[in-house]
């Protein structure tokens, strides 16, 4: 599914973010990616949807070689990998419905399918009744749910969540966590970079800890392992 071998990443400004990283993630896994800020978590995640390219090493996603992949093929990859950010990244002038539909429109999905699919995913994140709201009228948790709905709208095989609960209060964070678990239950691989110790320690999953650009710990049903 996701296969990384000897991955190095040095940015043009000389900062080395990844320092020889190997890992293997199977389809359907739920993986927490933990570690101090600036340890390479974000770079690790960006590599998976080809926002960044490795300086050295190989990355395969479903047998697609990301290191040698042509620019033109990137959109195809992104349709298989959904992404959720800490800051939601919703379009402020569009309604909830339009925000989700936008993701389907731009990949030229058939209009007849868009409506049903949007309502389906909004149902999945329990926001069907707020389809006509604009993002500003929603709470933080609701906005994050919209961004999750958008990320899963084109049925990606992998969902990447970069600190999805970073801007949310504990209760709302749990809400998001439950939705991610539900999505995981349908067979979608989930990679979640997080600083949320409580969630990691309560809902036990595989934990990959990254420090100084290397994986220092990889355990099934692991702990968060850092003091706050």
């Amino acid at each position: 599914m996701i296969e990384m071998q000897g991955v190095y990443k040095t940015y043009p400004n000389g900062v080395t973010a990844l320092n020889g990283l190997d890992t293997h993630i199977d389809q359907g896994e739920f993986v927490y990616v933990v570690g101090p800020s600036g340890a390479g978590k974000s770079t690790f995640i960006k590599l998976i949807f080809r926002e960044e390219k490795p300086s050295k090493g190989s990355i395969f996603i479903n047998d697609i070689d990301l290191a040698s992949m042509k620019e033109k093929r990137i959109p195809k990859l992104r349709r298989k990998v959904g992404v959720v950010y800490q800051d939601f990244r919703l379009l402020p002038r569009m309604t909830v419905y339009e925000n989700v539909a936008f993701a389907l429109e731009v990949i030229e999905e058939h209009p007849a399918n868009i409506r049903t699919r949007v309502m389906d995913v909004l149902d999945q994140v329990r926001l069907k009744n707020k389809a006509r709201f604009i993002p500003d009228e929603l709470s933080g948790g609701e906005q994050q749910r919209v961004s999750i709905a958008r990320a899963i709208a084109n049925r990606p095989r992998i969902l990447i969540a970069d600190e999805p609960t970073g801007n949310l209060d504990p209760e709302t964070s749990w809400e998001i966590m439950h939705i991610l678990e539900e999505i995981n239950a349908t067979g979608t691989t989930i990679l979640m970079a997080t600083h949320n110790r409580e969630i990691v320690n309560t809902v036990k999953k595989r934990v990959i800890a990254i420090e100084d650009g290397m994986i220092v710990r990889d355990e099934n049903r692991g702990d968060y392992g850092y003091e706050i």
Binding site: F49, P75, L77, R78, E105, V106, I107, E108, A153
Partner: protein
């Protein structure tokens, strides 16, 4: 591009034209100014070109034969000239024919020359038609070396002057047109860049969910095209109006005898099509150029 998304691109592209208000006005203004100037240059240049080539076509080398040459020598001279490179045809014209031609060309005033019919002071002439106008010079110098040639004339001074002037006009005009076109492309690309900055987030999300670059580019392509189209409306109208006036009214009041303007129809249609094409080209290029760097990553 899938056909059903064409509508979306056109809608997005035209929405952008309206949404960007003053930026659109400035981009269209820049295109209008450019195209107006380009159009005037083009009209002048194309007419000059036509004028020059009509003169070029009329070029002939006139070889005046010495009056002392006998018939046989004259015939030999004619044969020799026919074998010179780039000579298309050689025609003989006797001094009587020459005088007749002179009298005819001068109209009423020419009657004064009829007195000379008894003692014709003119020479017999060979008229050489060169295969190409620029060969006149070399033909003339070769003929000059032949026997029994009194003088060779092909209006070299005027011809050279027209050639040089035309060359300068062409070069300067072309340089100006290219310069103006690039200025307009730059202005349009700046305008579109600002509109893109406003839509950076949108483009980021489009890329995130897997929109192809061409899908993202299409609305900007259309926006650029519209800016170019709108920018060419005024120049086309002004040029058509101006040329119409020049061609149908001014021509009568000024003596345009030897300068033949290209006929209004079809010239103005060709010019308009050209202006439109340049406008659309400027718009599309300017716009697409500025999207390019936002499509990385």
């Amino acid at each position: 591009m899938k056909f059903r998304t064409t509508g979306r691109h056109v809608k997005e592209g035209s929405k952008s034209v309206f949404r960007n208000g003053w930026m659109t006005v400035s981009a269209i203004g820049a295109t209008t100014t450019t195209l107006l100037l380009v159009g005037v240059f083009l009209a002048v240049m194309l007419n000059l070109n036509e004028f020059a080539s009509s003169i070029e076509e009329d070029i002939e080398v006139r070889v005046f034969i010495e009056n002392t040459a006998n018939e046989q020598q004259v015939d030999q001279l004619g044969e020799k000239m026919e074998s010179i490179d780039n000579v298309a045809s050689v025609e003989y014209s006797s001094k009587e024919e020459e005088l007749e031609g002179l009298v005819d060309s001068l109209g009423d005033q020419g009657q004064a020359f009829e007195l000379f019919e008894q003692t014709n002071p003119l020479n017999d002439v060979y008229i050489i038609d060169p295969t190409r106008p620029t060969a006149a010079d070399s033909i003339a110098s070769e003929v000059n070396n032949l026997n029994h040639v009194y003088e060779v004339d092909y209006g070299e001074e005027i011809v050279q002057r027209i050639f040089t002037f035309n060359d300068y006009a062409r070069t300067i005009g072309l340089a100006l047109i290219i310069g103006l076109v690039f200025t307009a492309i730059f202005l349009i690309s700046n305008t579109v860049r600002i509109t893109i900055l406003a839509r950076k987030k949108e483009i980021g999300i489009m890329k995130l969910v897997g929109a192809t670059n061409s899908f993202i580019r299409w609305p900007f392509f259309i926006e650029g095209m519209l800016l170019g189209l709108l920018g060419s409306v005024i120049p086309i109208a002004a040029l058509a109006g101006g040329y119409y006036y020049l061609y149908y009214y001014l021509r009568d009041s000024i003596n345009f005898d030897f300068v033949q303007l290209l006929p209004f129809n079809p010239f103005i249609w060709q010019l308009s099509a050209l202006i439109l094409a340049i406008g659309v080209f400027i718009g599309i290029w300017g716009s697409v150029m500025s999207v390019r760097k936002f499509l990385k990553v």
